[in-house]
Symmetry: C2
């Protein structure tokens, strides 16, 4: 065990694209939709309109595969001027179902990082999307038993993290969040005074987006792999005690 | 105040068709789908196939409007042999969106029952369906502030109620569930040793389905209106103390 867990109470993980792959399923579905709509529309316009449809539907649908599939269908009908055959729309429904049914593929080092940390900290999983799909992915991930608490939420904003930190009986300075999204897992946690470990998905570095690193007093960390996370948590814990 | 709350700790309510109307939106959507599909299929066959499609998709979609809408679309394509125009499928998507966006209409007496009980008991809302839709309905119901805890779940089985009872720090014999569905809110709560108040939706009585009432030792109650619920809770509380 590196360091002491005494300065850190709770370690929380994001699910999609932090512990298991997710984004590539959306990208692949969109590519298949582009093939189906090739007779009607250019790929660029399709992508722009799909994003627009998804954004407009977000307040009603929230995040997740079911809403994404309905947005695919809506955009396909619009973009084809109603000319797309029903069979092709049926293929979009089937595409959505195959996304929901897709095996859960853990990221490299996910199981090891969760195992190593679970021995010293209560772990929380904070994930966003369709309730039944997230529950099914958590069950199939094989990691569920390692989490003391599972939070499936509609929005990952500062208020959500404040509520979760309070519910776990800790305080922000003893809370560490691990995730791949600056917007959903890093910035709101830093905003409420917590620690955040950024694990960019597929080695895309975004750290230029984190404003004013000096003001964060070492609460922001970026690692290239989940394998580095236990050591960073241990450093945070040790440093907190020194103060 | 009738009776004493001392024998009852927590009162839990179902949402859909207990506190607010929901089922009629599904019935109306299905009727519109039947109109669109009238050229292809008889109404009876449509209803049977839609139910079958919903049942087959339940493990992937869970309960809720988004999955229902995808099942409508899938069944419409199948039942029309792929002949349904894309525009009609677009109308099914729009139908789903209007269901999600529909104003929340409280049942008669819902606000009063919740108000009256919230003064004496921590209240829990236990509801099933799409996370974002349930959250939105709870917010728009105007009742959210009266609930100490809100549980949006994928399944209302005995294990779910056992977990909720434990999470509220009470025991089954001091827990009362109020709901309209024997399968989702009454039977599983009785099975774990709790009290259940059945408020049948639209005065359809189903009490013949509750097996072996004598074995329930007065833990099953049926009322015609939410207005009667506070008095029944008070009776349960008083009786528990007498024992």
């Amino acid at each position: 065990v590196q360091g002491s867990p005494r300065g850190v109470d709770v370690v929380a993980f994001d699910g999609d694209d932090t512990l298991w792959h997710s984004e590539h399923l959306f990208t692949e579905a969109q590519a298949r939709m582009a093939e189906l709509l090739a007779p009607y529309v250019e790929r660029d316009e399709l992508e722009a309109r799909l994003r627009e449809t998804e954004r407009a539907n977000l307040p009603l649908f929230g995040f997740g595969v079911k809403g994404f599939t309905l947005s695919l269908i809506e955009a396909a009908i619009d973009l084809s001027g109603g000319a797309i055959p029903a069979r092709d729309i049926g293929e979009l429904v089937a595409l959505g179902k195959s996304m929901l049914d897709h095996p859960v593929e853990l990221l490299d080092g996910a199981a090891e990082a969760v195992e190593a940390l679970a021995d010293h900290h209560p772990l929380v999983l904070v994930t966003k999307g369709d309730l039944v799909h997230q529950e099914s992915k958590i069950a199939r991930s094989g990691l569920a038993a390692r989490f003391a608490r599972i939070e499936i939420v509609t929005n990952k904003d500062a208020a959500t993290y404040r509520r979760i930190i309070a519910a776990t009986g800790t305080s922000p300075e003893r809370f560490v969040m691990v995730g791949n999204s600056l917007k959903s897992e890093i910035e709101p946690v830093l905003a409420v005074g917590g620690h955040a470990i950024h694990v960019p998905y597929e080695h895309v570095s975004h750290h230029e987006h984190v404003a004013d690193l000096t003001a964060l007093q070492g609460r922001y960390h970026e690692v290239a792999s989940l394998r580095e996370v236990p050591a960073v948590v241990a450093q945070i814990a040790a440093r907190s005690i020194d103060r």
